[in-house]
């Protein structure tokens, strides 16, 4: 019906061919992965002598390696709860879609409306934040076919955060609020699966799994596809093990109304150094919930989003994310103190290690060449090893053609973004989006 009438997705999901050679390839890649990991371990053990020679950097090197590997282990320990316990849990749900100048809004709304959830318990709310293009018109076209769709028109553009709040107000008495970005698309069963995690009354928020829809466009989007996959499957799983997912991303996340309502005003009126916060809404809201609620990750609740296809656009997005990461870091630190000590440790490392990165680069590119005539091959080797491990892990789970291109770009990206962090710090007060 309407779903069929929807325009075909701009970036179709590739089907996954499963040939005999695929199994062979996977076996080879798995062996390669094991060999690389073992090589790194052997190298670390072999260089234990450095602990005596240069304890500061030897400890750093061991900590970094352990940190990277331990996230894989923690992620592996995190398990999706068995559906049996929560199969009958059907709270009322509101999907809230804030929209601003979004060409793909119709497709997003169709996906929401097509969600596999009892219709009487599902409400879809779309908030047009005073778009300057024909977004509202296209929303209304969808609404004409779906009378159940709640359309809110903002009187003036007030930013995503207020659009979300407006959506909450229009969500009626829905127990669970599911936020979906206007350019994201959810699978039919995703909402049901996401909601299932709220059967546990201590859970305040759940991040869904988001993959990159436009990954086949170019090497930049391939790389981001890999990054997304690792960031969700590994990082968020590792955090979820302690109920401490640090950011329920705006693409697709669910919140318990009871958890959001008490903090809504504080969140809406949050300021940073005297200026209203206009980005990092997802990270900020998560931080409001973290001290009192468990925050989980739903690897089985699948959504897709578009990522920047041009480098400049990508770098601006990264800069925004880096700023919100920095701005929210003190609040996140306070929030995580309520969690498991291991979660505190992992959070501490995830904060300190990136902050040390400029010094690592300085050491590899200036200090070591100067003092011991050593070119930065350890640094490149380490970055490459990490990129390859992520790449192999990604390929083992997602049969994706030309997956290896992402590895090369990840190396470039790792080094370039290190330089972006100081810039983000220096301009942290600047709240411009760059794009929207």
């Amino acid at each position: 019906m309407t779903l069929l009438a929807a325009p075909p997705p701009r970036h179709a999901e590739p089907h996954t061919p499963h040939r005999a050679s695929e199994n062979t390839l996977r076996a080879v890649l798995l062996v390669a992965l094991i060999v690389i990991v073992l090589t790194i371990c052997v190298q670390k053990i072999d260089s234990f002598d450095n602990l005596r020679r240069d304890p500061v950097w030897a400890v750093y090197s061991i900590v970094v390696t352990t940190f990277i590997f331990s996230r894989f282990v923690l992620a592996w320990l995190y398990r999706v709860p068995p559906p049996s316990a929560s199969i009958t849990y059907r709270p009322s749900v509101a999907i809230i879609v804030p929209a601003y100048n979004e060409p793909d809004i119709a497709r997003t709304l169709h996906a929401c409306l097509g969600a596999d959830y009892p219709a009487d318990r599902l409400r879809v709310v779309v908030v047009d934040d005073k778009s300057t293009d024909d977004t509202l018109q296209r929303i209304n076209e969808v609404a004409s076919a779906h009378p159940g769709l709640v359309v809110i028109e903002s009187e003036r553009n007030r930013g995503k955060r207020h659009a979300m709040a407006t959506g909450i107000a229009a969500a009626g008495d829905a127990e669970i609020l599911v936020f979906i970005d206007s350019d994201s698309r959810v699978r039919a069963g995703a909402v049901k699966r996401l909601v299932r995690y709220f059967a546990d009354p201590t859970v305040g928020a759940v991040a869904g799994h988001t993959d990159v829809a436009n990954k086949d466009v170019n090497i930049l989007t391939r790389m981001q596809s890999m990054q997304y996959y690792i960031a969700f499957r590994i990082y968020k799983s590792a955090e979820a093990l302690f109920g401490a997912v640090m950011c329920c991303s705006g693409c697709f996340s669910g919140y318990r109304r009871a958890a959001v309502e008490p903090v809504l005003d504080a969140w809406l009126n949050q300021r940073f150094l005297g200026q209203p916060s206009t980005f990092g809404d997802d990270r900020s809201l998560t931080n409001f919930l973290l001290p009192h609620w468990r925050v989980l990750y739903a690897p089985d609740a699948q959504a897709y989003t578009n990522v920047p296809e041009r480098l400049a656009q990508f770098l601006r997005q990264q800069l925004r994310w880096k700023k919100s990461w920095l701005r929210e870091a003190p609040r996140a630190a306070r929030a995580v103190l309520h969690k498991n000590p291991l979660a505190v440790l992992m959070f501490g490392l995830s904060l300190v290690l990136p902050l040390l990165a400029p010094q690592v680069v300085l050491r590899a590119f200036v200090v070591q060449p100067h003092f011991i005539s050593q070119l930065p091959y350890w640094y490149f080797g380490g970055v490459a090893a990490m990129a390859i491990i992520y790449g192999l892990y990604y390929r083992l789970h997602k049969p994706d053609k030309r997956w290896y291109l992402g590895i090369f770009f990840t190396m470039f990206y790792t080094i370039v973004l290190v330089l972006q962090l100081p810039y983000a710090m220096a301009t942290i007060r600047d709240s411009k989006w760059g794009t929207r």
Binding site: F371, I372, P422, D430
Partner: protein, 505 residues
């Protein structure tokens, strides 16, 4: 105005970020500098076990002869390790060599011993100098711990321009500094960047840096002798300077790369001058053979060394050391020690001794010349040799029998030739000069006594001094050598030359 305010607001952030980058960066820099100072560029040393020495070899080596009139015995190693080439001795083989030297009670010489010897101080008995050329890593990694265990000393000849390069092949300055500090090592010179070959002509034939007039392709000519001198002098001086710059004592000995020390006469003299004016001695190499320093070597300011290659077993080492061990003149028994003779071609000679008389029959129309204990007498400069020289029948019977002292000293050697009713004394080997000649009363044999001192050679025949030849030279060890005998039969019926009662004191 608003822009100004915004910029002012931004300033503290920029300052803070600069501090965040620069302060830890400065700390890190200081940390790395401190580490670089404290942790040196030194590879870990490897210990090598030595097999127990063969007791028979130890006993033979311990019984080797000694003398005060002796040159240093010097061994040259290059790298110690497992490269598998001829000039790399394995750590195990080197350990076995050193163990043997240690177990036989031999001592190892320092550069100071060599300098003292050059000024006349005799060397300790049963001593050998261990040297290494080039400054390869294995010297530090393998050889040093072996020497330390045996409490032995050695000298390393360093190509200063290659130190720390071609990692991990050459040793680093840090390792050299550590070696010097151990007191176990003398660090000596092996050129700065002269351990290479240079083009010798337009065809691109390459020859050793130090002994070649270099071809200058831009000017299509070989360099002049002046340019040659400037080039080698600059290299040798820089080599010396590098030691001082790195806080090490200036080297006093110099090893010639490839043992190359001779070119055309003029270049050779220039090189000799440059080396001797900068160093106490130049070190040569000889592979696969016994060799010792002669007065001719010393005349050029050089000391001979024996190359130790990968095929040298402890047996070969012991044989060479024993063969090079000096003989005390008074202990020499030339007529009973018939194995000690050698032809002028340095081949072992069969000597026919009957009832204490040496029969020297070269055959009609031919000569024979045999040298006694060539490698063990090269530094003899104080001894007396006596012999009954014959056999003569009548004047002009065609037989000449001779006795020579200071053999191997091409400037000073003194040859006494006796024929029936005449004697003939010459000095020098390459261009002999007649220093005395005269008639003798008819007799079948004559008793000749030749007394050698560093000052003169006195020849006496049947109690009459027939010649006093001055041999004094300005430097020690440039007048020295052992003895040889010679014979000539002109005709088929010339009597057979014999030498009886040949004794040395």
């Amino acid at each position: 105005m608003r822009r100004m305010r915004a910029a002012l607001w931004g300033l503290p952030f920029i300052v803070a970020v600069a501090a965040y980058l620069v302060l830890p960066g400065a700390l890190q820099w200081r940390h790395a500098a401190a580490l670089a100072a404290a942790h040196l560029n030194i590879v870990e040393q490897a210990q090598t076990d030595a097999p127990a020495s063969d007791p028979a070899l130890v006993a033979r080596l311990a019984a080797a002869s000694t003398s005060n009139q002796a040159p240093p015995i010097v061994l040259t190693y290059h790298d110690i390790g497992y490269h598998g080439d001829r000039y790399t001795v394995t750590p195990e083989a080197f350990a076995a060599h050193m163990q043997l030297i240690h177990d036989a009670g031999w001592t190892t010489l320092t550069s100071a011993h060599i300098r003292d010897w050059l000024h006349g101080t005799p060397l300790p008995p049963h001593s050998v100098m261990i040297t290494f050329d080039d400054g390869a890593r294995g010297v530090w990694k393998y050889a040093d711990p072996i020497l330390a265990r045996n409490n032995q000393h050695a000298a390393a000849f360093i190509i200063t321009g290659f130190v720390g390069t071609h990692a991990p092949y050459y040793m680093t300055w840090d390792e050299l500094t550590r070696m010097h500090a151990s007191g176990r090592w003398d660090l000596e010179a092996h050129t700065h960047l002269g351990h290479v070959k240079v083009p010798a002509n337009a065809e691109g034939v390459e020859k050793p840096f130090l002994t070649t007039l270099q071809y200058l392709p831009e000017q299509r000519r070989v360099e002049t002798h002046e340019e040659y001198r400037a080039r080698i002098e600059a290299d040798l001086k820089e080599g010396k300077n590098q030691f001082v710059v790195h806080g090490l004592p200036a080297p006093t000995l110099f090893a010639f790369p490839f043992s190359a020390h001779q070119d055309d006469a003029e270049s050779t003299e220039i090189l000799e001058n440059v080396v001797t004016s900068n160093y106490a001695a130049g070190m040569l190499d000889q592979a696969d053979a016994v060799t010792v320093t002669t007065s001719d070597h010393q005349q050029q300011g050089n000391i001979a060394r024996m190359d130790m290659t990968s095929d040298v077993t402890p047996e070969v080492l012991a044989d060479r050391l024993i063969a090079a061990s000096p003989l005390e003149p008074a202990a020499a028994q030339p007529l009973s020690d018939t194995g000690g003779w050698m032809t002028s071609e340095r081949q072992p000679a069969e000597v026919n001794v009957v009832d204490g008389t040496m029969i020297l029959d070269p055959g009609p129309g031919r000569d024979v010349s045999l040298q006694y204990a060539r490698y063990r007498s090269s530094m003899w400069d104080t001894y007396t040799v006596s012999a009954d020289i014959g056999t003569f029948v009548h004047s002009a019977d065609g037989t000449t029998t001779g006795l020579t002292v200071l053999v191997g000293d091409s400037r000073h050697e003194v040859q006494l030739s006796v024929s029936s009713e005449a004697y003939h004394i010459t000095q020098g080997y390459l261009a002999p000069v007649v220093v005395a000649a005269g008639p003798l009363p008819p007799a079948p044999t004559y008793h000749a006594v030749i007394a050698v001192t560093p000052d003169q050679v006195v020849v006496t025949i049947d109690g009459q001094t027939v010649a006093t030849v001055p041999v004094r030279s300005e430097r020690r060890h440039t007048t020295a050598g052992g003895i040889s005998v010679s014979a000539h039969r002109k005709y088929a019926d010339s009597p057979v030359p014999v030498i009886a009662n040949l004794e040395i004191d």
